[in-house]
Amino acid sequence: MTGTASGTIPAAELLQAYRTMRTIRDFEERVYKEFQTGQMPGFVHLYAGEEAVATGVCDVLTPADYIASTHRGHGHAIAKGCDVVAMMAELYGKATGTCKGKGGSMHIADLSTGMLGANGIVGGGPPLVCGVGLSAKVRGTDQVGVSFTGDGGSNQGTFLESLNFAAAMNLPVVFVVENNGYAESTASSFHQSGIDVAKRADGFGLPGVVVDGQDYFAVREAAAEAVGRARAGGGPSLIECKTIRYFGHFIGDQQKYRAPNEVADAREHRDPLKNFRARVTRAGVLTDEQLDAIDTEVAELIDRAVAQAQAAPFPAPESALEDVYVSY
């Protein structure tokens, strides 16, 4: 295996990483397709193209660690270990869904896997992982909290003040910025004057780095360092991952603000799965056959998820009244 820390990653972990990225990709491509049938309601934001970020980060976390996600949360949920079948059912609003049909795409959460929730509020997650960090500190565990935020979200006051807060309180937290160049239709060249988000870290006294978000190995290496520092009591870090989304902001977006070839070019030259496959096969760590086998398994999984989701019952209407409080 050439260069970087990838050489030190066991083959089994690499296979798992590929499986995660492939699962995210297929999940999203399929959701895109199924959405067109009109059976899948609500606003849906797809993560395709950004797989290496969620996967590279979550692969250095333990199940006891927590992540706080965004409106574009499917990839994070899958990478953190949420059940894909239940997730698909949730998107269909079914009783078997991750949230029993109460949450939908923007609220998929599973505390048992450390997934603190997708979030309909941009900038909602960073303050929450400060709480995870404080909790770990006070309880004396070595758990870490990771928040994901987009380039757009990194302009939200809640994100910015959390950077300072975590630094001042020396919390075991990592702020991952997924800079895909757009907040909805607005380009980051405008909305943050084209300046690296990582640079903001300096002003608060936490380390900030920029990595290629299309490169699983680069992301994982940066995440390993940041998470390791957090676990060791070294406080928070920021990692900015330059990435690209393959679909519109949400399903239905006409994307007129993008150059016609922008996504096609990226799919060709900056695809995280292609990059990964090339790297691991060229290095002789994994074979195309192994990876193809995963492709087949994942395709079956997604088929099954869709079939089960479609077959599942809707929640009983009166269940709308449940789950507001533990007791009231």
Binding site: A183, A187, F190, Q254, R258, L321
Partner: protein, 339 residues
């Protein structure tokens, strides 16, 4: 001779366009209100707002229709500061649900300037915002939080229920010299109705009596006006007076009290949460100032005290349905005179 029909969405767009044409201090800004800002290769005005409501305005007024960073406190503060210094800004809070990241600029700043400063400030700003359920947008994108704004002295709160009102109330809002929260129900955008081409205003604090009646007064707001109309059409032999207050602050107390004086019976249909919500507010008005008119208990038809759920059967159950409204009206109509 009023024949042109346009959508609620177009009516809003037209109101903004017409006011921008006559008043160079009107400026509109928010996230993706035009869209495409900063994109080297794509189209400008690529979105016109997340649901296209402000589409086309950027081309007409490129310097006064402005995309912003994703920073609601800065957007709301910009509206307040601009209003206090010579503009008539329209700031967009994309979804009313996002008030939690910027509420201070609205309720402690804009709303209180005039009072705190001893009457010496004017803050003529409009906040356009989208609210309401029915689109499976779930708990953080479906709320009807206008009671929170209505609660705050210093704010005016507007809830158009149809295209005609949307245009006329928005023009009133832009011309108004106080801060106005203009709440657009996302399910009403495609609703069509007769809307005059020329500019006109609908005044604040004047309810719309959609139909006169003698047995039961129904007060309904926003999307619930149409639901109430459906409910009424299901009923036989009940004479219903249907009132749409159009603005919750100021509120047309008189119209409601006058109607209850006639009918003695009141159903309030509202999409906001029940506790300290708009239905409670209207019920309280009548229980304190119109009690002697009442012949039977007031009935509030509202969602339950829960967040808005995602799945269709849950969201349907959550929202007051025409059936539930009809049931309330007919139950009330059949009550014997009390005491």
């Amino acid at each position: 001779m009023m024949t042109r029909k346009i959508t609620y969405q177009k009516a809003i767009n037209e109101a903004i366009r017409q006011e921008m044409a006559v008043d160079p201090t009107v400026v509109l800004f928010g996230e993706d209100v035009a869209g495409g800002e900063g994109s080297a290769t794509g189209e400008d005005d690529a979105w016109g707002g997340v649901l296209g409501v402000t589409k086309g305005l950027k081309k007409l007024y490129p310097d006064r229709i402005l995309d912003t960073p994703l920073s609601e406190s800065a957007i709301m503060g910009t509206a307040a500061g601009a209003a206090a210094s010579g503009l008539k800004p329209i700031g967009e809070l994309m979804f009313i649900d996002f008030l939690g990241v910027c509420f201070d600029q609205i309720f402690n700043q804009a709303a209180k300037f005039r009072y705190m400063f001893g009457g010496k400030a004017e803050t003529p700003m409009v906040i356009r915002t989208m609210y309401g359920a029915g689109m499976n947008a779930a708990a953080q994108h479906s709320q009807a939080l206008y009671p929170i704004f209505t609660h705050i002295p210093g704010l005016k709160v507007v809830l158009p229920s149809n295209p005609y009102d949307a245009k006329g109330l928005l023009i009133s809002a832009i011309r108004d010299r106080d801060p106005v929260i203009f709440c657009e129900h996302k399910m009403l955008y495609p609703m069509k109705g007769e809307v005059p081409e020329e500019s006109y205003t609908v005044p604040f604090g004047v309810a719309n009596v959609l139909q006169a009646g003698d047995d039961v007064t129904v007060v309904a707001l926003g999307q619930m006006v149409g639901f109430a109309q459906q409910a009424i059409s299901m009923l036989d032999g009940v004479s219903v007076e249907l009132i749409d207050p159009r603005t919750t602050s100021p509120f047309d107390d008189e119209a409601v009290l006058r109607s209850v004086e006639k009918t003695g019976r009141l159903v309030i249909v509202d999409e906001s949460s029940p506790r300290c919500g708009m239905a409670a507010d209207v019920a309280s008005l009548v229980a304190t100032k119109g009690f002697n008119f009442l012949k039977a208990p007031i009935i509030n038809v509202t969602p339950p005290h829960t967040p808005v759920p995602f799945a269709t059967p849950l969201e349907r159950y959550y929202l007051p349905s025409p059936e539930r409204i009809a049931d309330a009206i007919s139950r009330l109509a059949s009550t014997k005179e009390n005491v």
